[in-house]
Symmetry: C2
Subunit: 343 residues, 2 copies
DNA sequence: ACCATGTCTTGGAACGATCCAGAGTTCTAC
DNA sequence: GTAGAACTCTGGATCGTTCCAAGACATGGT
């Protein structure tokens, strides 16, 4: 039995329905949608009318089956970290979804076991559910990118290929060594000279990167870094412990922290010592999290340009999907310093 | 030309490839995947072997085309609010993606113009891209749900149908009047009697709801609420202004805030007055945001059970998709109070 | 009038899965 | 030993779209 009506029935209208209403063939309707220039103006108008009248929209599954493109980008849900100030990834997801929408792509969020960095990718890849992936935690090692490459999957990464300098996939990253540098110079300008660093362990690539910015700024201005650096875990309690130790020993007048989480740890230490943030001591954090934005009197923080990063990634994705052999140069973006009451 | 190899070629293997390798028909392979009990044990084993050998995974587009089910749940990206402590939706997205994954559903994140609450839904609906939606901001009015209902779309909502008490779609919400009540009672237990309320404007349904919990707790314990309530916008600056006013006028010893954002506004006021949070004055917030978790000495906050909410929603979705006429009763969950240094 | 040229349109095949109806096989019971 | 049921398995049709190759039509030059 042929489909009845189309605009009356509950089932969505199909190409054939539109074709019938407009008095043309299916292919002509398809052309009206995908290659309008192939049609004569009056035919196009007639078909367009029928499309509007029926509220026709191509069926995604059918189109996807034929063209082998889903117009979906896979993004693995970053692990949620309670008790920290790390929300950069959430902001990134937001801006990325928005940027992707502008070019007709939607984002497929999927979940993967946090213990296994590869979990979840395989299924989507094999079922051809997504056209490409966005990989985020490249600083944890090249496992994901290496594996994806071996499976010939298309992907871009937010984060440089730390451990594989010759990787060929497009990537976008933020120069956070530079971020630490401008943070430190901002404090120097404000008259500080004993500026401490509270960062992560030596084996953290991200941590060493950021630290180098602080070191560089200090040395450039002829300031000593001796006894002013400490390295610890990325948690509030260890940030507090590190601040306690360094405040007792070296008495710095300002602190640069590798993350807003560590900065919050410092705040806990100050709270206990009844020191006033921004008056008795200056603090600068990283990531410009909601916490940095809202804590009184506001924490000066290095803000990564996530909107720009998202746009660059989408641009790279488009190129990559258009020309499979596309090898983009990596893009390094510069963060800006958002100055608030803490400095 | 027939597909060559399958396990050698770059193209993913198909049902036919598996069938050929296992020496059975396509349908048998399909049954092995979807209805294993229909097969004889030895046949199943043979097919399973072939599937493993080829790394076969059903093509999502093809399956979706035939079964009219995409196994995707649409979720419109909640608007990002900078400069506030509102990150509940991010936590919700996290837990929802995780809960959905357990039942084989993935989440399709899409973007919609913040000015138009309906933007984005239509396209996905018409192209049959998703099986159902999760709607989140029901307190902004019933526009979305009414429209979806009129289009016969399947959906569940996180948030009760505020303006349509007779709505029939499944929903899950958190009883935040109760939240305000336990927050207030917690402060009463701690010995406070002059407990102020800093909330939202009268036309905010959510705001009045929460306020009623405070009023109820106060009256139950024979405490007066006169001059202790203020209503304002959900922003840090208005929270600060409200706190300034009420601290000057009524001198309460504790404050209950309708959101963590307002609580942060209060903190700004305290900071200026050099009052110590948790010692000179107690503050309780709402949502248990990262900010509440990390600010020294920690803000006591009403924590919505988002994990449970996500699970309930996924359960409702499953029922809804299994039986289209399914009309679930709404589910109201109780929040818990996370006690920290601020009280 | 004829054919070459280009534009516009057409019906059939294909993408890879599931649904359906029926064929082949095995098992049970009389 | 055979009918009948129960269990396995098969081939063809189908979902809605795009690709393909070729047909229909108008236009212009000889």
């Amino acid at each position: 039995m042929p489909r009845s009506g189309g605009h009356i029935s509950a089932a969505p209208p199909t190409l054939a329905d539109v074709a019938e209403l407009a008095g043309v063939s299916r292919q002509t309707v398809s052309n009206a949608v995908n290659n309008p220039d192939l049609l004569r103006a009056d035919t196009l108008a007639r078909v367009q009318d029928a499309i509007d009248k029926l509220g026709y929209q191509p069926n995604r599954a059918a189109r996807s089956l034929r063209t082998r493109a889903s117009h979906l980008i896979g993004l693995r849900m970053p692990a949620l970290q309670e008790g920290t100030a790390n929300a950069m990834m959430d902001r990134f997801v937001h801006t990325f979804v928005e940027a992707a929408a502008e070019t007709g792509y939607h984002v497929l969020l999927f979940y993967g076991d946090p213990a296994d960095p590869l979990d979840g990718y395989d299924e989507l890849l094999r079922s051809t559910a997504v056209d490409a992936f966005v990989v985020t935690d490249t600083h944890l090692g090249g496992q994901q990118t290496t594996w994806l490459q071996s499976r010939r999957a298309r992907f871009v990464s937010f984060g440089r290929p730390w451990t594989q300098p010759d990787a060929k996939h497009p990537w976008v990253d933020v120069d956070l060594a530079y971020g630490a540098e401008i943070a430190t110079e901002h404090l120097i300008e404000r008259g500080h000279s004993k500026i401490a660093w509270i960062g992560w362990h030596k084996d953290s690539l991200l941590g060493e990167e950021r630290r180098s910015g602080w070191t560089h700024a200090m040395h450039t201005h002829g300031l000593s870094t001796t006894g002013l650096a400490s390295r610890t875990e990325d948690s509030i309690s260890s940030g507090k412990a590190a601040a306690d130790a360094i405040l007792d020993e070296t008495e710095p007048t300002a602190l640069v922290c590798a993350s807003d989480t560590l900065a919050m740890g410092v705040l806990h230490s100050l709270f206990e010592r009844r020191l006033r943030l921004g008056e008795d001591i200056a603090v600068v954090g990283f990531d410009d999290s909601q916490v940095a934005q809202t804590v009184p009197p506001g924490i000066t923080s290095v803000r990564p340009p996530l909107e720009e990063a998202a746009r660059e990634l989408v641009k790279a994705l488009e190129e990559l999907l258009a020309t499979p052999s596309y090898a983009a140069p990596g893009v390094m973006l510069k963060p800006v310093l958002t100055v608030r009451g803490s400095s």
